[in-house]
């Protein structure tokens, strides 16, 4: 189960919409598994079908989280033409077993589809998303 404050949900969706038709990506940092701080990352690939965090930006953000005793609670990216389900590449490259992998589909201009998964050793498990008011 991912409990996601509504403002964080809205920021992720807005980022995905803004970068459409390229994929958007980012992190929600937090302590104790609580998503608190949205960090929009540059998609170094600038691609409609692929994303990769810019390596230097990733280093800085990971250092900052470490200094603040935070972890990457959510790792999100968008799919711009397909459903919000992890692709084979997403599964093969997932390296944070403790993170919630959030996918947003922007294929429909009116309705954003946001779903969350655990990806551990190549196994994908979808989990419910509860939007918290505020």
């Amino acid at each position: 189960m991912l409990r996601l404050p509504a403002d964080i949900h809205d920021k992720i969706v807005a980022h995905a919409r803004r970068d459409h038709p390229d994929e958007a990506c980012g992190v929600v940092a937090g302590c104790g598994g609580l998503p608190e701080r949205v960090i929009e990352m540059d998609n170094a690939e600038r691609s409609p079908t692929f994303y990769r965090f810019d390596p230097i930006e990733q280093l800085h953000v990971w250092r900052e989280m470490e200094d603040r005793d935070e972890e990457p609670v959510v790792i999100y990216h968008s799919h711009t033409a397909t459903e919000a389900y992890p692709s084979r590449t997403d599964i093969a490259l997932a390296t944070e077993p403790a993170a919630h992998y959030v996918l947003v589909s922007t294929r429909d201009a009116d309705e954003a589809e946001l779903r969350s998964y655990r990806i551990v050793d190549g196994a994908v498990t979808e989990e419910p998303v509860e939007i918290l008011p505020g």
Binding site: T49, F50, Y51, R52, F53, P55, I56, Q58, L59, T89
Partner: protein, 91 residues
């Protein structure tokens, strides 16, 4: 020649849970061989069968991406700080 190596969560199973270890080597390739001698199997997570750095592993020397420093041939000096981070990427 001692360098400090920061180990990402996903590779700490090799280092007995240690977040940072020390190692030695004049180049990144030598450092990885040195680490593999003590943390068996870690090299295979960093270097491909054909001997290049894995595309989806980021390695930094003093906060610079080693891809701009010669990749596995990147020179190391005493006191350098090496960080390993798996790339966050997908499709």
């Amino acid at each position: 020649m001692a360098v400090q190596v920061r180990i990402p969560t996903i590779l700490r199973s090799y280092t007995g849970g240690e977040k940072a270890v020390s190692g030695s080597g004049g180049t990144l390739a030598e450092l990885i061989d040195d680490l593999d001698g003590r943390y068996d199997g870690i090299k295979a997570r960093l270097v491909t069968d054909d001997g290049s750095l894995h595309r989806f592993v980021n390695v930094y020397v003093n906060d610079e991406d080693v891809r701009f420093l010669g990749s596995l041939s990147a020179p190391l000096a005493d006191g350098d700080d090496v960080t390993i981070l798996p790339a966050v990427a997908g499709g």
